[in-house]
Assembly symmetry: none
Homo-oligomer: 407 residues x 2
């Protein structure tokens, strides 16, 4: 039997309030250089410690053993969707990251400004990494001249340096397509093709991309070095079962950065705008307590510090989080999970595959009798080492939302 169908069949609506708190990139690895302490272990976290005493712990594998996820799969897993089943194109992730309010059916492409020679051969795939301001100027130029192709609306958004995003909104569009990118210099930009040769919608989309090139290239012809561009990850927003339908929990997102708001929006969470700090996010949780059943609260700074390889900053980010935690506990959610979407070890300066520590607290979580919330402690927690996608189901169980299976 399909497991999601079984969960669905057993789900009962309750009045429980459930909070998923994601410290982005929380997990880390212990190294000799840092005296075998992770930032979480080195940080002073009196409030997390108090919670740990009455919680279950374990570790989460975001997608599969050894796989380092981006923010997309990392969060989809935490939202309870198998990231291998529900794949989100990079164009969609980039568009979400730039704050584009996507609609179902929108096709997104990740694009780079590039340098072409007189014969259309790519001589620099990143156009010398033009400054962000130049990128913004060029995007504004394109956006001013290309608002529609036929009936299809075209939206162009600048990213950092040479990066931008193109969103196509219209009827009967679909991805994925092959890339308009030779992936190395010395070759022409290939014409995109449907990934599924039978799909008429993909065929239409491929024609739109061709038309977009035909219109846009002349506009850039006199630019130096950005007289061309590449497009990749061309795909539509995938159909993902709505969070509220799937879990019978009315969800709200309290995130500061557009990418995470976008990912929450992808599964139908309501975005609550305004709060800029974790204290403000928790305050807003208190204010919105009655209006939702599920709160996704995202904290970015652990990941940032990990990406920078800054141990002290990551430790400080955790301590800042801990200091704000009592605000949340003024109206303690019935179920609290605290974890990361992936590890971002300081020593790696980037995302990694190492499992996340997770803390799960409720009146019925039981206690693993751990004095603190740490990677090493979580290894001996009762949740074991499991895939992230099961966390939502354990949260539902702790919210007493599942009927008994079988007699």
């Amino acid at each position: 039997m399909n497991l999601d169908a079984l969960y669905s069949e057993l789900t009962l609506k309750t009045n429980a309030k459930v909070a998923l708190i994601v410290l982005d990139g929380l997990g880390d690895i212990a190294t000799a250089e840092q005296n075998y302490l992770t930032p979480l272990e080195a940080a002073a976290t009196p409030n997390l410690d108090a919670l740990a005493k009455n919680s279950a712990q374990g570790r989460l594998i975001p997608a599969a053993p050894g796989i380092t996820p981006g923010s997309g799969p990392g969060h989809l897993g935490l939202f309870g969707y198998d990231p291998l089943e529900f794949q989100v194109g990079r164009g969609v992730i980039e568009a979400l990251g730039l704050g584009v309010e996507l609609q179902p059916g929108d096709v997104c492409a990740r694009a780079n400004f590039a340098t072409l020679d007189a014969n259309g051969i790519v001589t620099d795939r990143r156009a010398g990494r033009i400054p962000t301001e130049t990128c913004e100027k060029l995007c504004a130029l394109l956006a001013a001249k290309i608002k529609k192709i036929g009936d299809t609306q075209v939206m162009i958004r600048a990213g950092k340096e040479h990066r931008f995003v193109v969103v196509f909104r219209g009827k009967g569009l679909e991805g994925p397509l092959t890339d308009a990118d030779p992936n190395r210099e010395g070759f022409a930009v290939p014409v995109v093709k449907p990934r599924d040769p039978e799909s008429l919608k993909q065929k239409k989309m491929a024609e739109l991309i061709a038309a977009f090139y035909q219109t846009a290239l002349p506009i850039l012809a006199q630019e130096k070095p950005a007289n061309g561009f590449l497009m990749r990850g061309i795909a539509h927003q995938p159909e993902i079962p709505l969070f509220e339908d799937r879990y019978k929990l009315k969800p709200a997102c309290l995130a500061v950065y557009p990418m995470y708001k976008g990912l929450a929006q992808l599964v139908g969470m309501k975005k609550i705008e305004g709060p800029q700090t974790i204290a403000e996010q928790f305050e807003r949780y208190l204010a919105e307590h009655a209006n939702y059943d599920f709160f996704f609260i995202h904290y970015k700074y652990t990941d940032k510090a990990g990406e920078d390889g800054d141990f002290t900053a990551k430790k400080k980010a955790i301590e800042d989080f801990d200091a704000a935690l009592p605000i949340l506990l003024q109206k303690t959610p019935d179920v609290i999970a605290i974890t990361g979407d992936h590890s971002t070890p300081v020593s790696l300066k980037g995302h990694s595959w190492h499992p996340q520590p997770v803390l799960l607290h409720s009146k019925v979580s039981g206690s693993d009798k751990l004095e603190r919330f740490t990677e090493t402690g979580a290894n001996s927690g009762s949740l074991g080492v499991m895939e992230s996608k099961f966390l939502m189901r354990l949260m539902q169980a702790n919210a007493r939302m599942f009927d008994k299976f079988g007699a």
Copy 2:
């Protein structure tokens, strides 16, 4: 490759004696109210402690993370059958629980006496919870007048209060059907339908249920308040590969309660009747040692105490079990697994999803160097947190029943 097929291909017959000992509902959770000790942790268990020193430990997830199983899925998992793949209808479980000796193809329905008004509308789904004696009297009345419908034999067995079971034995019958139960008062009893509209056997079965209603309702017409009845979970005994064929182990069941004998019978175990206490069950194991390879020994009282929310009684049940254990060890089985079918935490007064502690002992189990058998200790055992269905395979491995896979 199908994993069961691989196990099967690698299985060798040995002379090992294997014992699966189920303390029903053994697992519990540590709470502040009980000083962070589970009943297993609070109990004095010198004999389990001695065994633990030379055992591997871990935790078992009965069906899937967060799922609270009934006894059926709980035991099927321990018998090595995926409870999501092999689902047993509630009618079958209830019939087994009432001690009906089911045969392959029997279709069972769980039934309730109910009160109907003059228009056939259900006014009380439980007929005022009539006393068990009334239920027995009405079942006898129905049984006396309805022995067969066409070629199909009909068996009616009273349960507790308003509950009873109807078993249909004949050729070409099959479930599952929809319920003859509006699930709330104020509605008529719906006509049952095949779950699979294409199944002729289900169609035949639905017609039999209709005929049963037609015959039975007039018999009850003058009764008050039980002038009607509802039927649910109408399904046949599923086809389950026989235990002995699957594991090359000749199995015996030493259980006291009918439900567990029934579940053992479902997979073809031989029921050994007679023993009423765990000491008597172990004594009987000694007597039957030469006659079987595999002994399923079921102990009910841990679950009962958990359901009653009685910490002291659960602790005492564990201590009583421990005191009897030396009898078993007079002829120590080559492989011993001690676990539960699910958790029944005292603080929840019912089954739960929390993983079971499991202890696995053999000459080749290795030692996890744990001084005791407890939930918390088991968290850091070498078996990890795994699905129950793999325990049988680990028992086979410890019985040296698997050839090497690959060169």
